[in-house]
């Protein structure tokens, strides 16, 4: 009989006990998603690889603090996004650069049903909400930064982002 793959929570518990094999399993299970999100946000293969390493090192050091309320993948992607936001903000401070691209970097081919559902839900948003969501989620810009970048009031930024997320949440439920 084939051996059952250990559930995520069991892997994280083993990682907290310094089990390197468990970290390797977790990496092979979710490394692709972590790397892909990092690459989508940073737009750079080498930096995405470095950030992927950082995320799994952080998991190695802090798996004991993981509390299984959401999925392990959700936690990993949150860590990835936070680290990417740090890098993007540093980039903007150093170069005073503009955000890269202008659209949510979703899979164009969208072969999987799940990806298609998300892409359709995003496509149904008004363009100004899509743009605000892209700047907030994938570029890690604060509300104030978005307001200055788009030259619109802060309240409008907040309303657009909130409405975009509420609409996505409803469509994807």
């Amino acid at each position: 009989m084939a051996e059952m793959a250990p559930p995520d929570a069991a892997l994280l518990a083993r990682i907290a006990q310094r089990d390197g094999q468990a970290l390797e399993l977790l990496y092979h299970r979710y490394g692709r998603q972590v790397f892909s999100l990092a690459r989508a946000m940073l737009g750079d293969q080498a930096q995405a690889a470095e950030l992927t390493q950082e995320v799994f090192l952080l998991v190695w050091c802090s798996a004991g603090t993981y509390r299984p309320t959401g999925s392990a993948l959700a936690w990993l992607l949150r860590l990835t996004r936070n680290r990417a936001i740090d890098l993007l903000r540093r980039r903007r401070r150093q170069r005073r650069g503009q955000p890269r691209g202008n659209e949510l970097p979703l899979a164009a081919g969208a072969d999987a049903a799940e990806q298609r559902a998300v892409r359709d839900a995003v496509a149904a948003l008004p363009p100004e909400q899509r743009q605000a969501l892209w700047l907030a989620f994938f570029q890690g810009m604060s509300h104030q930064e978005i307001a200055a970048y788009l030259q619109i009031p802060l309240g409008t930024v907040k309303a657009r982002i909130r409405r975009a997320l509420q609409a996505l949440r409803q469509r994807l439920q």
Binding site: Y27, A40, A48, F56, L104, F137, R169
Partner: protein, 247 residues
């Protein structure tokens, strides 16, 4: 003390909270409300699920083939070992249940065990709560990380801090467990002076977690250190530094 939020006020902030677009000052009352409100917890979970799905909808690429080998080399000591030592507490709980059911042990003995387990459960619950808050802190944007190292020993730690917050999280590994009348104490150094960062103990494996509440925003400090002190902590360090690092 932050004023408590109503569910409606909390709901208004949840989308931004899930996006981590709130400042630590704005996020704190939301976190406080969430800790005791199942309705808002469910709403937050729905937002987080949406964001996770958005994050998964990006084009998928395989990481470079050599990445795992590079990552493996960077893992801090001790080297990769498996230490399956799980379930000790679960066994203690099971033992407690057996004691209650087993009349042979006598009612007084069972009662004593129940009290002990209840105390243990309270400790575990408060530990879990600290871990939950530590995890929430870890997800804030711009959280920085500084390694705390010992002079030659294998003990190590990491301080996760946000420059604008007075809260931080300390995680230590491989510090030797102390006698019951001793505790570890974190010191935060600024302009040649020290602030108390809090006291903590470590478990049998040398793992410890401290939720730090500093008197000043963490950006004000230049370094951190850990010493062993008498139970309750000291006004100033009374023993050599065991771990230290520059912020």
């Amino acid at each position: 003390m932050e004023p408590s939020l109503s569910c409606e006020q909390c709901e208004d902030l949840l989308a931004d909270y899930a996006l981590q677009a709130l400042t630590p000052q704005e996020a704190e009352p939301v976190a406080v409300h969430l800790a005791t409100c199942p309705r808002c917890q469910a709403s937050l979970a729905a937002y987080e699920d949406t964001l996770t799905r958005l994050a998964q909808a990006v084009p998928q690429y395989s990481p470079p083939p050599a990445l795992w080998r590079r990552l493996r080399r960077r893992l801090p000591a001790p080297p990769l070992v498996s230490r399956p030592r799980r379930g000790r507490r679960a066994l203690a709980v099971a033992a407690g249940v057996v004691l209650l059911l087993g009349a042979a042990w006598g009612a007084w003995q069972a009662q004593r065990e129940v009290v002990r387990l209840r105390q243990q459960w309270q400790v575990l619950r408060s530990e879990l709560e600290v871990q939950r808050r530590a995890l929430a802190f870890l997800t804030l944007p711009e959280v920085r990380q500084v390694s705390l190292r010992s002079d030659g020993g294998r003990a190590r730690g990491v301080l996760l801090w946000h420059p604008e917050a007075t809260q931080a999280v300390l995680i230590v590994q491989d510090l030797p467990p102390l006698a019951p009348d001793r505790v570890y104490q974190l010191w935060l150094l600024w302009d040649g002076k020290r602030d108390n960062g809090g006291i903590f103990r470590v478990d049998a494996r040398g793992f410890g977690l401290l939720e730090v509440h500093a008197p000043k925003p963490l950006a004000a400090y230049q370094a951190a250190g850990i010493t062993a002190e008498p139970a309750g902590g000291s006004p100033g360090p009374t023993s050599p530094r065991l771990l230290g690092g520059r912020l």
